[in-house]
């Protein structure tokens, strides 16, 4: 990558795979379980977190030398809360239906451990550009898992992708449904999201044995 130095591009690429916030650090699980029944909601959620985390990381990084360390958590909360409210209002203004689907989970980005984690672990100790990249990278890692889970849950649970009936029409019995296929209702329930995330973790750790924790 010409644009980024090797060290900088590592900031983006690492969280996508070997240091993924969901599958390796096991953070931000709640929203991954709650809103991934549809692919569209997963994508929007991923983008929202990316906006909040990237901007928040930059803001915190700029203020890192003037925040008194005793009250840094409160300062971080104020920053992330302000950003989440902006994202929430934007969603309500431009995509009301979707914000209904995401409901409380946009507001709950505030409590997403990934965000506070990156503020604490990275933005407080690094410059704004590197913090920005780190925010993008971690949010992308989060979004990647959400999209994978959302893809399988919507495809197998509703037979659609982004609302398009890719497997045929279940009522008119076209496509796969003509052969007797039926949607898997279990996929739409939250436990299945946990199982899908579990399978991703399983696949990832089987490919890269170094990731297996020893107990």
């Amino acid at each position: 990558m010409g644009l980024l130095s090797k060290k900088d591009s590592k900031l983006i690429l690492d969280p996508l795979a070997d240091n993924n916030p969901i599958t390796i650090q096991v953070l931000g699980i709640c929203s991954a379980l709650a809103i991934t029944a549809e692919l569209k909601a997963s994508i929007v959620m991923g983008l929202s977190v990316m906006a909040v985390l990237a901007i928040g990381n930059v803001v915190i990084s700029l203020m890192r030398n003037i925040i008194p360390s005793k009250i840094r958590i409160i300062v971080q909360l104020v920053v992330v809360a302000a950003l989440v409210i902006i994202v929430d209002l934007v969603l309500k203004a431009y995509s009301y239906q979707l914000s209904k689907t995401l409901s409380v989970f946009v507001g709950l980005i505030i409590t997403n451990c990934i965000i506070m984690g990156r503020f604490e672990a990275f933005a407080l100790a690094n410059g704004p550009w590197r913090s920005f990249l780190d925010g993008i990278g971690n949010a992308a890692g989060y979004a990647l898992i959400l999209v994978i889970v959302g893809f399988f849950r919507e495809l197998l649970g509703s037979g659609t992708l982004l609302g398009f009936k890719v497997l045929g029409d279940p009522i008119e019995k076209t496509g796969l449904y003509a052969l007797g296929y039926e949607n898997n209702g279990f996929m739409l329930l939250s436990p299945m999201a946990l199982i899908v995330v579990g399978i991703i973790i399983w696949v990832q750790r089987s490919r890269n044995k170094a990731l297996i924790e020893d107990h």
Binding site: Y181, E182, G185, F186, L189, G198, W202
Partner: protein
């Protein structure tokens, strides 16, 4: 003898390769292997895993055969071709070749799919992970066809078996390491994934689904389904006890299940503690509900009235309670291991079964959910039983030394 030798030769030939486990499993399944363990201390006993599994399967065979007859009987009865069985368990309307052949051709494919998919995955995992194929699936594979409705599409069963074996068992490390009973995991998967095929009044009688909308539409509700809606179907207690009622394939005949249960207790494979305590738990819960009806806490208009006013002992012979208690709750891997723990575990299985059954009409088969829930709690129960035991012994030690 020659087959055994040939297998042995093949085993030697493939020793050290990936296929070794697969051949080893076949060999062990059919015969006692030639080679024995060489080092360490051993307890010599005949009741190895293979024999344990086979005993349970033997106990299940009567239920399977009965299920075949019952599938045909329910179909022809609902279609109006035959009269209801009269004259006790050996009723001539029930034990006919027509009934049997219809059931046979519907149920054998379920058994084949269940075993084919399940054992296929077991072999696959054994080959990849390079461990021995375990006999654990033999019982599961027989249980699965017995606890599904007769009309379940085969591909659904295949998907569910794959899910149950991989997620329910293999990810935990295979037979003996699983937390949840694999057969019930498979059923729970089917239940939540394809509810239209697993509940309601259309799935329990063969051919009912296809007949929807036709002139000669047939339907067959289970006892639980109709009771949950406050209606009492016209089955006599003896019908329920003998099993001449619609339901999952192998669960209807309480009589044969009791015989199977006695066989398991006699061979010391099923735990009588679990069976007895879950019956006690179910009776107590049933008595509580009957009492609530008696003192008019629950009146006729309530949506729980139908199931709550059912005499407490009738809960034991309707639905899958008997089957679950005898064959599923006693699974030695997922039940509690300590004797005291078994009492507690069994009691709550029975208690919760009836509770879920009555209070949640959407999940009429409470016994499945109750056993799965208690499977999760079984290690915790054992933990506290063992701790209590240690405490008691320490106290005794103190008294002695003092």
């Amino acid at each position: 003898m020659s087959l055994k030798n040939n297998l042995d030769k093949l085993k030697q030939k493939y020793k050290g390769t990936k296929m070794a486990t697969a051949f080893g499993a076949f060999h062990t399944f059919l015969y006692t292997p030639n080679d024995t363990t060489h080092n360490g201390t051993h307890i010599k006993a005949a009741d190895d895993l293979k024999r344990t599994m086979n005993t349970v399967i033997l106990a299940l065979i009567p239920c399977l055969i009965f299920g075949m007859f019952n599938a045909g009987y329910q179909h022809y009865l609902a279609a109006g071709d035959i009269d209801a069985a009269t004259g006790g368990f050996f009723s001539s309307q029930f034990w006919t070749l027509d009934n049997f052949s219809l059931g046979f051709w519907k149920i054998i494919p379920l058994v084949i799919v269940s075993y084919g998919v399940g054992l296929g995955i077991e072999f696959l995992f054994a080959t990849i992970k390079n461990h021995e194929v375990e006999e654990g699936y033999l019982v599961t594979g027989m249980l699965v066809p017995l606890i599904v409705p007769v009309d379940i599409p085969l591909w659904m069963l295949a998907v569910a078996v794959a899910f149950g074996v991989v997620i329910g068992k293999e990810v935990f490390g295979g037979t003996g390491m699983n937390i949840l009973n694999p057969a019930l995991t498979i059923r729970a998967f089917l239940f939540f994934a394809y509810p239209t095929w697993m509940s309601g009044d259309k799935v329990w009688v063969q051919g009912a689904v296809e007949s929807i909308g036709k002139v000669d539409a047939i339907s067959g509700e289970t006892m639980l389904g109709s009771l949950a809606q406050g209606r009492h179907l016209g089955y006599s207690v003896w019908d329920m006890f003998y099993g001449f009622i619609p339901g999952s394939i192998g669960e209807t005949s309480t009589l044969l299940i009791i015989l199977g249960g006695l066989f398991l207790i006699f061979t010391k494979i099923g735990s009588w503690r679990i069976m007895l305590s879950s019956v006690v738990g179910a009776l107590i819960m049933g008595l509580i509900f009957n009492y609530l009806v008696d003192v008019n806490v629950i009146s006729e208009g309530s949506k729980f009235y139908g199931l709550m006013s059912t005499p407490f002992w009738e809960h034991l012979i309707i639905g899958g309670f008997a089957f679950g208690t005898v064959y599923m709750a006693t699974d030695p891997v997922t039940a509690s291991q300590t004797n005291k723990g078994k009492w507690i575990y069994g009691f709550f299985v029975g208690f919760l079964s009836i509770l879920i059954r009555v209070f949640n009409p959407a999940y009429p088969e409470g016994v499945m959910l109750a056993i799965l829930l208690m499977n999760v709690f079984a290690p915790t129960i054992d933990h506290y039983v063992v701790k209590g035991n240690i405490k008691q012994r320490l106290k005794r030690l103190k008294v002695k030394t003092a």
